[in-house]
């Protein structure tokens, strides 16, 4: 066995002995908590992201997809034929599909051999039949149709399906396709055929609008090479999608969640660091005598530093490994829930979050524990003779710089940018400073109160104001944790409940779409008979943005305005026309439509216009089913989306869209438990689709609930860290408390009186922390209510009561446990200590 170097062996022995004393246990617990908080969050978000990566592959049908509005060129095909890659192609376009007498505009997808390279189609051989995984693409001469599409077309497996000039046989129904997009308004039937059959349909001619895709999959390095080379050589109208571009809404949400939860976990790390600093300081003071003896016996400064830093290193290693182990257990509990929420298979945890957690543990240790411990090097040997000689303190500059530097490094790393990191660090320190100021005021208030109390009560309360600095640290640390929890529980549910109560009871909860022009009058009559007072139906025309002020635009033209602008510009618009607008629309700039305008005019939703940089007077051109439509922007309006009525980003002047293929949309309120009205509507008009907004809202609400639960759990780490600051503070004053407890016993205090004094002190600290938290939560909730929800600010009087009670309970239990030794020590022992 290789012998451990002597100072490290000494450090190991020192740690074993020190573990019996309080402050090292606090140090260990604080580091453990910091590592656990960061690693748990890291494990969970890492697993969710990797799950999404796998899912995204399936959604693309491959590892990378080159899309274009012209056939993919030879250069790209050759790159896709490189060793280690597989490739195939798909084409997509719109065309009418006919089954018997039923004719519908369909989304046609022509699939090359081998598609999909990732994921699979799930097919059924008859309506209501069991799903099976497809073993290829449709055989030549056959098609597959989406189940909903087959219903709309009235088609059954085996029926003849006409596309263009060719007749196909419907071979299967598609239950699930690999690259389905979430598009509620795209209700057109989807028809899949073999790419080799496209030519025989005669549908793709010169000038046809076709989306071409080259799908590539294979070894990671080969895919990366393909992506790099293709990205450098993108042609006009071409776009390269990798898994990073897939499902951007979920990916963005996850990356924000990772950043947010990571930063929330760092709040616990900041508080744990305060506990580490307090414990390390006391640890140093306790070792002054031992160091003096070591110096006396000839130990060099370097040996002393190695021994004590070595002890910290051992401690950091144990705390790090322990924290990672606890995090592994915690994330395993969460992974199951997460899988259900995201609807994904969650892959096993990776190594990176564990390494990051260990890194955080050691950063905290180096920034907060090493500076005070380093001061031990300066203990003079004279101290063995004169105890008052030399009690060196760590350089305040060194400790401050190391602490702030360490925190800044952690926050910058988690925030992903120095700017956001600085804002967050400033936010955390600012909140703590504000809480500390509030706490200081309350601590001074306590001073005035104590003259009304007597005996043990007064002694307990006097301790709060005597150790004002320590009390303020404890109150602010605990206050921060309690504030976060109050905000996430009481304030959140209260605000949401109030916001929902503000919504009109008869707000529409169903959208009815796909109403054909000839059905507008009968549907309106039907709704009137069903009790809807003034049924309004809005025309809806789907168009793609092609030019602004005469200049051709694509999504890429908006790339520099950000991902959202690009996506808005790329997707198909739902356009409408109207003579007037409801009360949920307010004119912000420009004018409404003028009667008898000769050229088409549009009114645009103001936020949307700002996102795309559109202004009054701009001319916007759309492609509607192959025909251009151009209009001038005359007004910008603000829309109250909470009205839940159909509203459109772009609305044309009355009559301007006449003659273009159009369907209508309306919204109705269906009382809870009365689904009959919409069922009858669909039976009467089978082509209509009813979208249950309430179900969508419920889904959104439940996701929001789960996300805020996750944040709430992360802030329990913060509360635990706040309690650790309390324990560190109590441990730091343990000697004083023992002595004073002993003196009180000598003066005739019994156990009950001593415990009462301690209870008074801790209950007061807990109450003050609760009050500080409640005041801060009330102010913040006021800001959220008025700024975000547009609700009047009504302070919630439950907050101080619940905050105070929660604070008192948490602190009293922790404090009483931490000080039980004071009562358990016989007064004679104290007296002996006093006698010296």
């Amino acid at each position: 066995m290789t012998p451990t170097p002597r100072p490290l062996r000494l450090a190991w022995r020192l740690l074993k002995r020190d573990l019996a004393s309080g402050e090292v246990r606090v140090l260990l617990a604080a580091l453990l908590l910091a590592v656990t908080a960061v690693t748990t969050v890291g494990f969970i978000t890492d697993r969710a992201e990797r799950a999404l990566g796998i899912e995204a592959n399936r959604l693309l049908g491959g590892d990378a997809v080159l899309r274009g509005d012209a056939p993919i060129g030879e250069a790209a095909r050759q790159r896709a034929a490189a060793p280690g890659l597989r490739a195939t192609e798909t084409w997509s376009f719109n065309s009418m599909a006919r089954v018997g007498a039923n004719l519908k505009l369909a989304d046609i997808r022509a699939l090359g051999e081998g598609f999909p390279l990732r994921g699979s189609f799930t097919l059924a051989d008859r309506e209501g039949g069991e799903g099976r995984i497809a073993d290829g693409v449709p055989a030549p001469g056959t098609v597959w149709i989406s189940r909903a599409g087959a219903q709309a077309l009235g088609a059954s497996v085996g029926d003849a399906v006409n596309l263009g000039t060719r007749e196909f046989r419907l071979a299967a129904l598609v239950l699930q396709e690999p690259d389905a997009a979430l598009d509620y308004f795209n209700t057109a039937p989807k028809v899949f055929l073999n790419l080799a059959d496209v030519a025989s349909t005669g549908l793709v001619q010169e000038g046809s609008r076709v989306g071409y895709r080259l799908v590539v999959a294979g070894e990671a390095a080969a895919v990366e090479g393909f992506v790099r080379a293709t990205r450098a050589d993108l042609g006009r109208g071409q776009r390269l999608e990798t898994i990073d571009d897939a499902r951007p809404e979920i990916r963005n949400a996850l990356s924000r969640a990772d950043r947010f939860l990571g930063l929330a976990a760092l709040v616990s790390v900041v508080l744990a660091a305060v506990a580490v600093a307090m414990a390390a300081r006391r640890h140093t003071r306790r070792h002054l005598d031992g160091c003096a003896v070591m110096r006396c016996l000839g130990a060099s400064q370097r040996t002393i530093a190695t021994v004590y830093i070595g002890e910290l290193a051992w401690l950091g290693l144990f705390a790090g490994l322990g924290g990672v182990a606890i995090a592994l257990a915690l994330q395993a509990l969460v992974a199951g829930v997460l899988g259900r929420v995201l609807g994904l298979d969650i892959p096993p945890p990776g190594l990176l979050p564990a390494l990051q957690g260990l890194g955080v543990g050691f950063t905290v240790l180096i920034a907060f524990a090493v500076p005070p411990v380093l001061a031990l090097r300066q203990v003079p040997a004279l101290r063995v003779l004169r105890r008052d000689a030399g009690a060196p303190e760590a350089s305040a500059w060194l400790a401050g710089a190391a602490g702030i530097g360490g925190l800044a490094a952690l926050v910058w790393w988690k925030a992903g940018s120095a700017q956001l990191g600085t804002v967050v660090l400033g936010g955390i320190l600012g909140t703590l400073a504000a809480l500390a100021l509030l706490a200081l005021g309350l601590v001074f208030g306590v001073r005035a109160l104590r003259s009304r109390l007597r005996g043990a009560w007064r002694y307990g309360l006097a301790n709060v104001s005597r150790r004002a600095g320590s009390s303020v640290a404890q109150i602010s640390a605990l206050g921060l944790g309690l504030m976060a929890i109050l905000l996430l529980t009481l304030v959140r549910t209260d605000l949401l409940a109030r916001w929902q109560a503000e919504l009109p009871a008869d707000a529409p909860n169903r959208f009815v779409i796909n109403v054909q022009p000839e059905q507008v009058a009968p549907v309106r009559d039907f709704l009137r008979e069903a009790g809807v007072r003034n049924p309004e139906l809005w025309p809806m025309v789907r168009g793609r943005l092609t030019a602004v002020n005469g200049e051709a635009v694509t999504g890429a033209s908006y790339a520099e305005r950000g991902g959202r602008a690009r996506r808005l510009a790329e997707r198909e618009f739902n356009l409408s026309q109207a003579a007037s607008f409801g009360s949920d629309n307010t004119l912000v700039e420009g004018r409404w439509f003028t009667e008898g305008a000769t050229t088409p005019e549009v009114s645009v939703e103001v936020d949307f216009a700002r996102e795309l940089g559109w202004k009054i007077g701009d001319r916007v051109r759309f492609d509607i089913a192959g025909r251009p439509w151009e209009a001038t922007i005359v007004g910008l309006r603000k829309v109250d989306w909470e009205s839940f009525r159909p509203n459109f980003f772009v609305v044309g002047s009355p009559g301007s869209l006449d003659g273009y293929p159009m369907s209508h949309i309306t919204s109705v309120h269906v009382p809870a438990g009365n689904a009959n009205a919409t069922n009858e509507l669909v039976m009467r008009f089978p082509n209509l689709s009813v979208i249950d907004i309430e179900a969508v809202l419920n889904q959104v609400r439940s996701t929001a609930d789960q996300v805020s639960k996750a944040v709430e759990y992360v802030f329990y780490f913060t509360l635990a860290a706040g309690l650790l600051v309390l324990i560190a503070a109590v441990t730091a004053t343990q000697d004083e408390r023992l002595l004073e407890g002993g003196v009180m016993r000598v003066l005739g205090a019994n156990r009950r009186q001593l415990r009462l004094a301690q209870l008074t002190e801790f209950a007061a600290i807990g109450l003050l922390a609760g009050l500080v938290a409640a005041i801060a939560a009330t102010l913040l909730s006021g800001a959220i209510a008025t700024q975000v929800f547009d609700l009047p600010w009504t302070p919630d009087w439950r907050l101080p009561a619940i905050g105070g009670a929660l604070g008192m309970l948490a602190v009293a239990v922790t404090g009483m446990l931490a000080t039980r030794r004071v009562v358990a020590t016989p007064p004679a022992q104290t007296l002996r200590a006093i006698a010296g």
Binding site: Y459, L747, G748, Q753, P827
Partner: protein, 235 residues
């Protein structure tokens, strides 16, 4: 400094206020048993002043802690104010101390979070007295600190702190006052002044004074001396 002659002596419940019989204290070490106190017996009458003297390690402090019920003996018995300490539990002994015993320590042991006035009030408040404040004000006035009532220990000099400690010790008019090297942390002049005050208050209140000291001059002012050596009574 004048002492108010109207202060009442404590009720003469028992003539012998402290009785120590065959008191021993032994502690087990890994290799042997160490005898700190070995079968010490004596009794102290009400109003007596007794100095316990001896070299360092002679068992003085152990004897003091056993007499005050702060520790339990291995053998023997202590009767304080007529009550056998072995019959009382920890809280019972604390109550007995609250009612009959005052303490003065070498290092004052004032509670730093309380003002001078609050420190003096504390033992009476712990005992449930209603008139703690006027009595504390009164005695602090008599030890010359009437103007320093609201000051914290850290704002007082060593001599002033010990005067507060004396006031705290005498305010409840204890039957017995235990003083452990009361001048050990003071310079000669201040120590002298504190000793004068201690004896003055003691004479007036008629408290039984048990003084642990290695200062022979201080011990000489007591009516009786008990000398310890190696845990045994030698005088």
């Amino acid at each position: 400094m004048t002492i108010d002659p109207s202060i009442q002596l404590p009720p003469a419940a028992v003539a012998t206020v402290l009785e120590v019989s065959r008191l021993s204290k032994r502690v087990a070490l890994p290799d042997r048993v160490l005898t700190i106190l070995d079968a010490v017996s004596f009794s102290i009458a009400r109003g007596e002043t007794v100095a316990i003297v001896g070299a360092s390690g002679s068992g003085k402090s152990t004897l003091l802690s056993l007499m005050a019920g702060l520790d339990t003996p291995t053998e023997g018995e202590v009767r304080l104010a007529g009550q056998a300490l072995s019959t009382l539990d920890e809280d019972g002994r604390a109550r007995l101390r609250g009612e009959h015993v005052g303490f003065v320590f070498q290092s004052f042991q004032l509670l730093p979070s309380l003002t001078a006035l609050e420190n003096v009030m504390l033992p009476m408040e712990l005992a449930g007295a209603d008139d703690a404040e006027p009595r504390a004000r009164d005695i602090l006035g008599r030890v010359g600190l009437g103007e320093r009532l609201g000051h914290y220990p850290r704002q007082l000099s060593g001599g002033e702190q010990q005067r507060v400690a004396l006031a705290r010790a005498f305010v409840a008019r204890p039957g017995v006052l235990f003083a452990d090297e009361p001048t050990g942390n003071l310079d000669t002049t201040t120590g002298q002044a504190v000793v004068e005050l201690l004896y003055g208050l003691n004479r007036e209140i008629g408290t039984t004074l048990v003084l642990v000291t290695h200062d022979e001059r201080l011990a000489a002012r007591c009516a009786r001396r008990i000398r310890l050596a190696g845990g045994k009574m030698v005088e």
